[in-house]
Symmetry: C2
Amino acid sequence: MSAISNSRSDKGDRPKARSGKWTMTIITLLRDQPQRFNALRRQTGISQKTLTTTLRELERNGFVLRTMFATIPPRVEYELTELGRELLELSEGVRDFFQRRRPQMEAARERFDASGGEPEIRLNHP
Amino acid sequence: MSAISNSRSDKGDRPKARSGKWTMTIITLLRDQPQRFNALRRQTGISQKTLTTTLRELERNGFVLRTMFATIPPRVEYELTELGRELLELSEGVRDFFQRRRPQMEAARERFDASGGEPEIRLNHP
DNA sequence: CAGAATCCGCTCAGATACTG
DNA sequence: CAGTATCTGAGCGGATTCTG
């Protein structure tokens, strides 16, 4: 274990790229105004550890700006950067797509599940 | 274990929605022409199990059409549906975004890692 | 309040072996 | 060739505990 300090900056191993199940949710919540840590926590029900991890990666990649206020108790605010705002637009596009196409997807799933997943079968080869 | 058959249609539990690390790769490979199972396998280096799972979910959701030819040896082709083609466009948009913004992201990462992840600190509260 | 550190269970993806 | 069945290891996300 570390001998002197245990701050994050001591660890030599940088976090690997994460897909981030909660990433889209977080940046969506940051759309309209900066938010504090526990505000995000309450709105999402996300665990503290995962929220921290998600926010750190967003910060690290330049999508979110973290600002600490040296008050007691401490106050930390997260807000979208310009780059983060672009990511938000992108992610809204993705969400819109799946929302628009949801009926087709559900219909396809019903067909697939009803047929037990049996594919088209052709006897002739093209 | 199953008493009589072990075909997929026997299992009552349907697969849950998967994020699919390889999904984008696969539909990109299907852009220009239908492809056979092992062709996809060779081009990606993806394991056979994961390829099957990925293709099945794409098929189930209506993005990919699977066609079996009753020949010996068997021949199975995968191709994009119209819906799949829309998903392809979307995913190309996503890839383009991260490609375009890669420099900004890498710059942000360097700043973050160099500073040990220390945030902006403000002494006054707004 | 905003985290860091730890432990833990689950799911995902790869490796392997076997079939129609 | 195109799968299915199984085992296994790694990583993610949650719960809990502790601190500045």
